[in-house]
C-alpha cells in the first residue's frame, strides 16, 4: 500500500510529466501555419469596411464600446490609433500576422499576433463570434511555445546555422493548455445546452438547420427524417459533454475526432461558418504528437502523390540533430519499373529469407544503417505499402518476435498472424529470443511484463545489446494488470527502444503498430499515442453509414399526422386563410386529442372570422385543458365584451390578473372593459397599473380616451402626447389629441395635429381627419351655445343653409365651395399657371363684420390636402379678396373641392380648464 508520501510523489510526477515533459514542437508548428492563415484571412476581411467597423461612429460605435467596457480591463491598440491612420495601422497588423504565419521572428510575431487579435476583438465586440474566441485562445497558447521552431522561416534559418531543435517543455505546456481549453469549451457548450428544452426534445438540430440566416445549404429535406434529427441532437449533446473522456481515452479518441471533425465541417458547409469550423479542427492538432503528425503528413503526401501519379521525392521537415534525427523520407518508385518486379528489403535479416515487395507499392527502401548508433533517417521507411488499390497488404522490413510463456498464448498469437498473412516468430522465452536475434539487423519484439521482472528485463536487454552489437530493436512491452512500470530506470543503448503499451493492447493493435511502424517514434512511459488517422476516418465512415441507414430505414416522417395538420392549420391562420385554417384544425382535433394551444389557436381563427360563439367555446375548452392559460382568458374576455357580456369579460380579466399580476395585457383589457362599462375612474386605475408594467403607447392612448370621456382633456392631452413620444407614427393619438385640444379651446394645436395625422396616414385622412376637422371647426360642442347664435346670424344675413350630404357638412357652417354658386357665399377659382398654383377666394359682402372663425379646406378625392385658418389680423383684407399661394407637388394638380367654413369665435367656447 502506498504511503501519503509516495502518493504525493506520484501525483507530483504525473503533474510534471503531463504539463512539462519536453516534446517536439512540430504540432505547434503546424498549428501556427493554420492559425496564422486564419488570422491573416479573418483580419484581411475587415479591410472590406475597416472604417465602418473600427471608425469612431461605425458599427462598433466608440462611445458604446467604451461604455460597455467601462470598469473592465478590456484593452485594444485601436484606441490609440488616430483618426485617419486606421488603414496604416491595419496594414501593419496584417504584415505582422503574415510574418507570424510564415514563422519569421516567431518569438516576437507570435506575441504581436496575440496582441493584434485581442485588440481587434475588443474593439469590434459587437460583431464578434466564436471564431474570435478560438483565434485568441490559440494565439495566446502558441505565444507561450516555440511554435516557430518547425516549419518556419526561423527553422530554415536555424538549419542553415546548424542549430538543433530540442524537445521543449513549453511546447508540451502549450499543447496541454490547448487540449484542456478545448475540453472546457466543449463541456460548457454541452452543459449550457442542458438548460434549453429543445436539446431535450430533440428539436435543436432542426432549429439550427432551419435558421435561414445561418443556412448556407438547404437541409430542410431532413424534416422528413425527424428521428435522425432527434438522434443527432442527443448525440451532439452527449458528444460535447463527454468530449474530455472521449479524447483522453486512447481507444475512443478516433471516435471523438471523427465526430468533432464531422461536426465542424458540417458547421462550415451548412451554417456557412467555415472559419469557425476549421479553426476548431485546427485545435485538434494539439492532441497529436510529432510522430503522429509526421505519419499523417507522410500518408497525406503519399496519397496525393499516388492519386496524382506524381514522380517526386517529397520530404517532411528533417532536422539534423546531433543525436536524434526525426526526418522521414518517402520516394515514389520510378515509373519505368515493371509493376510486378520484386524488390528485396535490404533490412531483412540474413537467413530469414527475403520478403517480396512490389516495386510500385511503396516509397523508397530503407538504407542499411551500418553505424553502431541509432540512425532514424536510415531506417525510416520500413513500412512498404502496396500501391494496388485492391490490396492493402503490407510488408515490413524487420522481424516480428513475440515472446510468450503461455502455450495457449503462443498458439493464439501464431494463429492470429497467420490469419493476417504475416510472419511472426513466436518464442517461449528470452533465451530463445537472444538466440534468434543474434544475426538480425532489425527486429520488433513483443514481451509481456508479467513474464519479466525489471532486473530480468535489464539483463536480457544487456544480453541483446551484447550479442548483437549492430542490431536495432524495438521492444513493445505489455504490462501486467497492475500496470507496474518495469521499464522505469532501465538503461538501454539508443538502438534498443522500449515502448510501454497499455494493458489493454490487443494483437490487432500490435499488428498495426508493427505494420504502420514508425521507428522514429520516441518511446514514451505510457503509450498514449493516438491510433493512426485511419481509425478516425474509419469512425467517420461508420457514422456516415449509420446516418444513411437511419435515413433509408424507417425514420421517414408521415405527412398526414395530426401534428402536421395542426401545423398546417397554424400556417393558414398566419396567412389569413381563416376558413381553411379552421377546417384543418377541426380535422386534426377530430383525429387526436388537442392541446390547450390547439384550441386556443382555433379560437383565434374563429374570433377573426367574427364567429364569436365558437371562439368563446374554443377558449373555454383551452381553459378547461389549461386553467392557467392567461392568453385564453384574455381573448375570451375580449370576445365576451364584443358579445356585450362586459361583466363576464371583467370576471375573466380579473382572473387573468389574479393568475399573473404582471400581465399588462390583462390590466389594459380590463381598463378597456371598465371604460366601456362607464367605470372611468377604475378604468384609469387599470391602465395606470398596466403602464407601470410596460410603457406601451397603446396604453397611454387608451387612458387618454378615458380622460376625454371623463372630461379631463388636459390629462388626455398629456397621455396622447406620451403615446406620441413613444410612437411618432401613432396617427390616432394625433387625432384624439386634436379632439382634446378642441375641448381645451386650442384650435391651432388641434389643426396642427390634424394636419400631421393627415400627412402621415392617407387612410385615416380620408375617413377621419377631414370629418374630425370639420366637426371641430364646426364645433359640435358649440351647437348648444355659440353655434346656435352663428346659425341665427347666418340666417339673418340671408344665407340659404343647404342641407348637408352627410353629417360632416353642417348646414350652417359651409358657406361656400368651389362648386357652389358664387353669389351665395364665395367664389373660388384657380388662377395660376395651368390653373393650379393660386386660388382666389371672394366672399360675399354679407360676411363683412363676421367675428367668427373662418377655415379653408382644400380637398382632393376626399383627402384633406391643406387647411388654413385665416388669422384675425388679416380679416379686413380677407373680406375683399383672399388669395393664398398653393404649391402642390404636381404643378397640374387641381383639387376636386375647396370649401370655406365658418365657425363661432374662439372665445365663445366654454371649455373646462
Amino acid at each position: 500500500m502506498r504511503g501519503p508520501q509516495q502518493l504525493t510523489a506520484d501525483v507530483s510526477d504525473a503533474w510534471q510529466r503531463f504539463w512539462f515533459a519536453p516534446s517536439d514542437p512540430l504540432p505547434l508548428g503546424v498549428m501556427r501555419i493554420l492559425l496564422g492563415a486564419m488570422l491573416f484571412y479573418s483580419h484581411l476581411i475587415w479591410s472590406l469596411d475597416l472604417i465602418g467597423f473600427f471608425g469612431a461612429s461605425g458599427w462598433n460605435n466608440a462611445g458604446i464600446i467604451k461604455s460597455l467596457q467601462q470598469d473592465t480591463l478590456a484593452w485594444s491598440l485601436w484606441w490609440f490609433v488616430p483618426t485617419g491612420a486606421e488603414y496604416q495601422f491595419h496594414v501593419g497588423c496584417l504584415i505582422v500576422l503574415f510574418l507570424f504565419w510564415i514563422g519569421f521572428a516567431t518569438r516576437a510575431t507570435s506575441i504581436l499576433a496575440w496582441i493584434i487579435t485581442v485588440s481587434y476583438a475588443h474593439r469590434s465586440m459587437l460583431s464578434n463570434f466564436g471564431l474570435d474566441q478560438v483565434n485568441a485562445m490559440l494565439a495566446f497558447y502558441l505565444m507561450l511555445a516555440p511554435c516557430g521552431a518547425r516549419l518556419s522561416f526561423d527553422s530554415w534559418w536555424r538549419k542553415r546555422k546548424k542549430i538543433a531543435v530540442t524537445p521543449s517543455a513549453s511546447a508540451t505546456l502549450a499543447a496541454r493548455l490547448i487540449q484542456v481549453h478545448i475540453c472546457v469549451i466543449y463541456v460548457w457548450a454541452g452543459l449550457s445546452k442542458l438548460q434549453g428544452s429543445a436539446w431535450w426534445t430533440g428539436d435543436a438540430i432542426w432549429q439550427v438547420i432551419a435558421n435561414y440566416e445561418y443556412q448556407s445549404a438547404d437541409l430542410t429535406w431532413l424534416a422528413n427524417y425527424p428521428t435522425v434529427l432527434q438522434l443527432a441532437t442527443h448525440g451532439l449533446l452527449l458528444f460535447e459533454i463527454t468530449f474530455p473522456f472521449l479524447v483522453f481515452h486512447r481507444r475512443l479518441r478516433p471516435l471523438a475526432f471523427a465526430i468533432g471533425i464531422a461536426l465542424h465541417l458540417g458547421i462550415g458547409a451548412f451554417l456557412g461558418m467555415w472559419t469557425f469550423g476549421l479553426i476548431m479542427i485546427c485545435g485538434y492538432l494539439a492532441f497529436f504528437n510529432a510522430d503522429e503528425i509526421r505519419s499523417a503528413g507522410n500518408a497525406l503526401v503519399a496519397f496525393v502523390a499516388r492519386v496524382g501519379r506524381v514522380q517526386a521525392e517529397v520530404a517532411l521537415p528533417e532536422e539534423k540533430q546531433p543525436q536524434v534525427r526525426n526526418g522521414i523520407r518517402l520516394a515514389l518508385p520510378a515509373p519505368d519499373q515493371p509493376a510486378d518486379q520484386e524488390l528485396h528489403d535490404p533490412n531483412s535479416a540474413p537467413g530469414e529469407g527475403r520478403r517480396p515487395i512490389a516495386a510500385n507499392e511503396t516509397a523508397s527502401l530503407p538504407q542499411v544503417a551500418p553505424q553502431p548508433e541509432w540512425d532514424a533517417s536510415a531506417s525510416s521507411a520500413h513500412v512498404l505499402t502496396n500501391g494496388s488499390p485492391r490490396s492493402r497488404r503490407r510488408f515490413v522490413a524487420d522481424e516480428l518476435l513475440y515472446v510468450a510463456r503461455s502455450k495457449q498464448q503462443r498458439a493464439n498469437v501464431r494463429a492470429y498472424f497467420r490469419r493476417h498473412d504475416m510472419a511472426c516468430c513466436v518464442l517461449r522465452g528470452a533465451a530463445e529470443l537472444i538466440e534468434r536475434t543474434v544475426n538480425l539487423r532489425k527486429a520488433t519484439i513483443v514481451l509481456r511484463a508479467k513474464d519479466f521482472s525489471r532486473t530480468e528485463l535489464q539483463f536480457w536487454c544487456d544480453e541483446l545489446a551484447e550479442t548483437n552489437p549492430q542490431g536495432q530493436f524495438r521492444i513493445f512491452l505489455l504490462p501486467d494488470s497492475t500496470q507496474r512500470n518495469t521499464t522505469e530506470g532501465l538503461e538501454v543503448p539508443p538502438r534498443i527502444r522500449l515502448f510501454r503499451l497499455s494493458a489493454t493492447t490487443t494483437l490487432r493493435r500490435i499488428r498495426k503498430l508493427y505494420v504502420n511502424q514508425d521507428w522514429n517514434a520516441t518511446p514514451s512511459a505510457d503509450d498514449d499515442s493516438i491510433p493512426p488517422a485511419a481509425n478516425t476516418i474509419r469512425a467517420a465512415k461508420f457514422m456516415s453509414w449509420l446516418f444513411i441507414l437511419l435515413v433509408l430505414t424507417g425514420c421517414g416522417a408521415k405527412k398526414n399526422t395530426p401534428k402536421v395538420q395542426l401545423e398546417r392549420a397554424r400556417m393558414l391562420l398566419e396567412r389569413g386563410q381563416l376558413h381553411d385554417s379552421v377546417q384543418a384544425f377541426t380535422t386534426a382535433l377530430s383525429q387526436a386529442n388537442g392541446s390547450a394551444d390547439d384550441y386556443y389557436d382555433r379560437g383565434v381563427a374563429y374570433e377573426r372570422l367574427k364567429q364569436l360563439e365558437q371562439a368563446a367555446a374554443d377558449y373555454t375548452e383551452a381553459l378547461r385543458l389549461a386553467p392557467m392559460h392567461s392568453q385564453a382568458l384574455n381573448n375570451r374576455a375580449v370576445v365576451l365584451a364584443q358579445m356585450g357580456r362586459v361583466e363576464d369579460a371583467l370576471l375573466d380579466l380579473s382572473q387573468a390578473i389574479e393568475i399573473n399580476p404582471n400581465d399588462a395585457l390583462a390590466w389594459g383589457n380590463r381598463g378597456l372593459a371598465r371604460h366601456e362599462s362607464g367605470a372611468f375612474a377604475e378604468a384609469i386605475d387599470d391602465y395606470s397599473h398596466a403602464i407601470e408594467l410596460t410603457q406601451e403607447p397603446r396604453l397611454y392612448f387608451q387612458r387618454g380616451n378615458v380622460y376625454v370621456d371623463f372630461d379631463r382633456p388636459q390629462q388626455a392631452v398629456e397621455d396622447f402626447s406620451a403615446a406620441i413620444d413613444l410612437d411618432k407614427d401613432f396617427v390616432r393619438a394625433y387625432l384624439n389629441r386634436a379632439n382634446a385640444f378642441v375641448q381645451l379651446g386650442k384650435l391651432d394645436e388641434a389643426v396642427a395635429d390634424m394636419q400631421k395625422a393627415s400627412q402621415m396616414d392617407s387612410e385615416v385622412s380620408m375617413t377621419g381627419a377631414i370629418q374630425q376637422l370639420r366637426q371641430q371647426i364646426r364645433g359640435e360642442q358649440w351647437q348648444d351655445t355659440a353655434a346656435a347664435g352663428l346659425a341665427q346670424w347666418l340666417k339673418t344675413e340671408g344665407y340659404e343653409i343647404r342641407p348637408a350630404q352627410d353629417e360632416s357638412l353642417s348646414p350652417f357652417m359651409l358657406v361656400g365651395d368651389s362648386g357652389h354658386d358664387a353669389g351665395a357665399a364665395c367664389f373660388i377659382s384657380p388662377t395660376g399657371p395651368r390653373g393650379a398654383p393660386v386660388f382666389e377666394v371672394s366672399l360675399s359682402e354679407k360676411l363683412v363684420g363676421f367675428e367668427g372663425q373662418v377655415a379653408l379646406l382644400v380637398v382632393d378625392k376626399q383627402e384633406l390636402i391643406r387647411s388654413d385658418r385665416m388669422p384675425s389680423a388679416d380679416r379686413p383684407a380677407w373680406l375683399k379678396d383672399w388669395r393664398f399661394d398653393w404649391k402642390p407637388v404636381e404643378s397640374d394638380f387641381v383639387p376636386s373641392q375647396v370649401e370655406v367654413l365658418l365657425g363661432p369665435p374662439a372665445d365663445s367656447l366654454s371649455t373646462e380648464q
Partner: protein, 186 residues
C-alpha cells in the same frame, strides 16, 4: 519520458514554481469564466471576482454557450432610407447578397444578433446601439432619414415543412418598428 526538474539553479526553481502557480490560476480562471454565466451560484459569482480582470485582459471571458440554451430566432434590422430628393430604398442588415464573403456577412449578422442577446432590461442600451447602427447606415447611404425596424425571424417546426411551408415564409418574419433617425439630428 520524464521532464527534467529545474534543480540546477534557484532562479530556474523559482520560475518553475511561478509557472506552476500561474498554471493553476489560469486553469481555474478558464473554468470559472463559463461557469459564471447566469444562472449560476453565489459561490461561482464570488469566484468570478477573483478572475474577472485576468479573463477580461486575456479575452478569455467567454461562456461558450454556442446555440444554447436553445438555437434562437434570428434578429435582423430592416431600414427604409429616405433621400433628400424624396426617393427611398429598403434594405436589411445582414444581407448575404450584399455582404460577401461569408465571414463579412457573419460580421454583420453578429451586429444584429448582439441586439437580440441583450436582456429585456437593457432597453436603453439596445436603443442606443440600434441608433448607432442607424446612423451608420444613413451615413453609408447618404440618406436624410432612416426608419429602423427590428425583425424577428421565427424558426418553424419541421412539421411546417411537411405541411407545405418554408423556413422563409413571409409570415415567419415579425417586424417591430424601432425608431426613426434624422441624420441632421446628429
Amino acid at each position: 519520458m520524464h521532464a527534467e526538474l529545474p534543480n540546477s539553479s534557484w532562479h530556474k526553481r523559482l520560475l518553475y514554481v511561478l509557472v506552476n502557480l500561474w498554471l493553476v490560476y489560469h486553469l481555474a480562471a478558464i473554468m470559472v469564466a463559463p461557469a459564471s454565466v447566469p444562472p449560476t451560484s453565489e459561490a461561482v459569482r464570488s469566484m468570478w471576482g477573483g478572475f474577472r480582470h485576468y479573463l477580461e485582459a486575456t479575452y478569455f471571458n467567454h461562456g461558450y454557450h454556442y446555440f444554447a440554451p436553445a438555437p434562437g430566432n434570428s434578429t435582423l434590422l430592416r431600414y427604409v432610407a429616405q433621400y433628400p430628393d424624396g426617393s427611398s430604398t429598403v434594405g436589411q442588415i445582414p444581407n448575404r447578397d450584399v455582404q460577401r464573403p461569408r465571414l463579412f456577412y457573419h460580421r454583420h449578422f453578429m451586429l444584429t444578433e448582439f441586439l437580440a442577446s441583450l436582456p429585456p432590461s437593457a432597453n436603453q442600451l439596445r436603443d442606443n446601439i440600434a441608433e448607432s447602427y442607424g446612423f451608420k447606415i444613413a451615413e453609408q447611404l447618404d440618406a436624410e432619414q432612416l426608419e429602423l425596424s427590428l425583425v424577428k425571424h421565427r424558426i418553424v417546426p419541421y412539421e411546417r415543412i411537411l405541411a407545405g411551408g418554408a423556413i422563409d415564409d413571409p409570415e415567419t418574419y415579425e417586424v417591430s418598428p424601432l425608431m426613426v433617425i434624422e441624420r441632421a439630428a446628429r
